[in-house]
Symmetry: C2
């Protein structure tokens, strides 16, 4: 069985006591069936990853004692995902995959053809946290409140590039465009709604000097698929997949 | 409203009459609310894409008359996806995304740590067909019956390369490995189960001369995420995303 891995708010250091909130205590006790002495991995986004042991268990709480550090905190790519919200489970999957694919921020943007009026930010955040725990990230991505695309572009940070899927014929193939870009730095991926950006929105994005338009091939991808593809390509070319260290997944039982 | 697009078995040519099966007649009449004269796009995997018009409508059937050809049939990448089946909706998403990401064959493989005993091939095929209709492919991917990984490797075609996610430290980063490979040709992507391949399975795959081991970065990806990422990277580097023609998505209303 894989050792459970949880994000906590508490400071982590050898010997520290960590009181888990009720939902995490419930998960470890009733779902994972852990009792006193069982091992858990903890991270808080600041102090790296630590092994802890279950110390006291009561009906609604659990206290862990922190042992050794497993990994020091390390820098992670500074990548945002901007996407037009879509319905149902597909949006949950976007939050989950954006977390696995190493996004620092997940930012729903409202576009002219966005059909979803309300976004459950709390639920998206919960999906992103669960994925972060499972995929061994050392940080949590932050899910922002939705904002109109026009506002996001109007306030766009000068030092952040914006990779976006451009449906015009002649946009550069994504691998070629990314191979020519500088690795690292601040970036964002922008994926439009299923009906595409409205013409005025296209003009707005294209006019941004930080924008890098790319093609995602000849097939019409769903918005969720386009998110996954663009994020994976970015990580492979400019993010932390460049180092080729697949050796982190050694937590076999 | 987007023009409906359907895969049919019938031969397609100007003036041909196409009788739709009951489920497609139901979809066009009751879901899309189409009546006589309405336009539909058709493809059959052999004759390209055609516009057709609704001709006769009855309670359980619908006949279309084929008009002009919209696109000639064209070669598509020869890419397979081999994956260890997983539970629930995640496996449906794999079939859908594999179709959008241009797989010719979707092949579930049973591994030592595969937890799913039964695969509903028919349901996966239906997901793949729906995605093919929506993403404007000119062919359907074929979903195969599950087979043991060992059998698939034992009969592996001499002329087909096998890209697989290798969890060992030191595997080449996927973008670097693909940039060094020859574009086109026959390929497959292999993604293992969530628990990883068993050691004997790893040895089996690694021993295959056609195998290309790659790293998908430092985070532990879920199996579905790894499928999407590897397929997108393959298309971007070796498949039909290299041409940068995003101009096919011009079916605006």
């Amino acid at each position: 069985m894989t050792e459970p891995r949880l994000h906590v708010d508490a400071d982590l250091g050898a010997g520290a006591a960590v009181d888990l909130p009720k939902h995490q205590a419930h998960y470890l006790r009733n779902v994972m069936r852990l009792g006193a002495g069982a091992a858990v991995k903890l991270f808080n986004g600041r102090d790296g990853e630590w092994r802890a042991a279950v110390d006291r268990v009561s009906k609604n709480s659990m206290t862990l004692t922190v042992g050794e550090q497993l990994r020091p905190q390390a820098a992670e790519p500074d990548l945002w995902l901007l996407f037009a919200p879509i319905k149902g489970r597909r949006i949950d999957a976007i939050a989950e995959k954006a977390s696995e694919l190493g996004c620092a921020e997940i930012r729903p943007v409202l576009t002219e053809r966005t059909v979803v009026a309300r976004v459950n930010v709390e639920r998206l955040q919960a999906n992103a946290v669960e994925a972060a725990e499972q995929c061994e990230r050392l940080t949590l991505p932050v899910v922002r409140e939705p904002e109109p695309l026009g506002d996001a572009i109007a306030r766009w940070p000068a030092d952040r590039r914006l990779l976006y899927a451009d449906e015009r014929a002649g946009a550069a193939p994504i691998a070629r465009a990314l191979a020519a870009a500088e690795p690292g730095g601040r970036w964002a991926v922008l994926i439009g709604p299923e009906g595409g950006f409205a013409p005025a929105e296209q003009d707005l994005v294209r006019a941004l000097p930080q924008a890098l338009p790319v093609s995602l091939g000849p097939r019409l991808l769903r918005a969720d698929t386009a998110c996954f593809a663009a994020l994976a390509l970015w990580q492979a070319h400019l993010g932390d997949w460049r180092d080729g260290d697949g050796g982190q997944s050694d937590d076999a039982p």
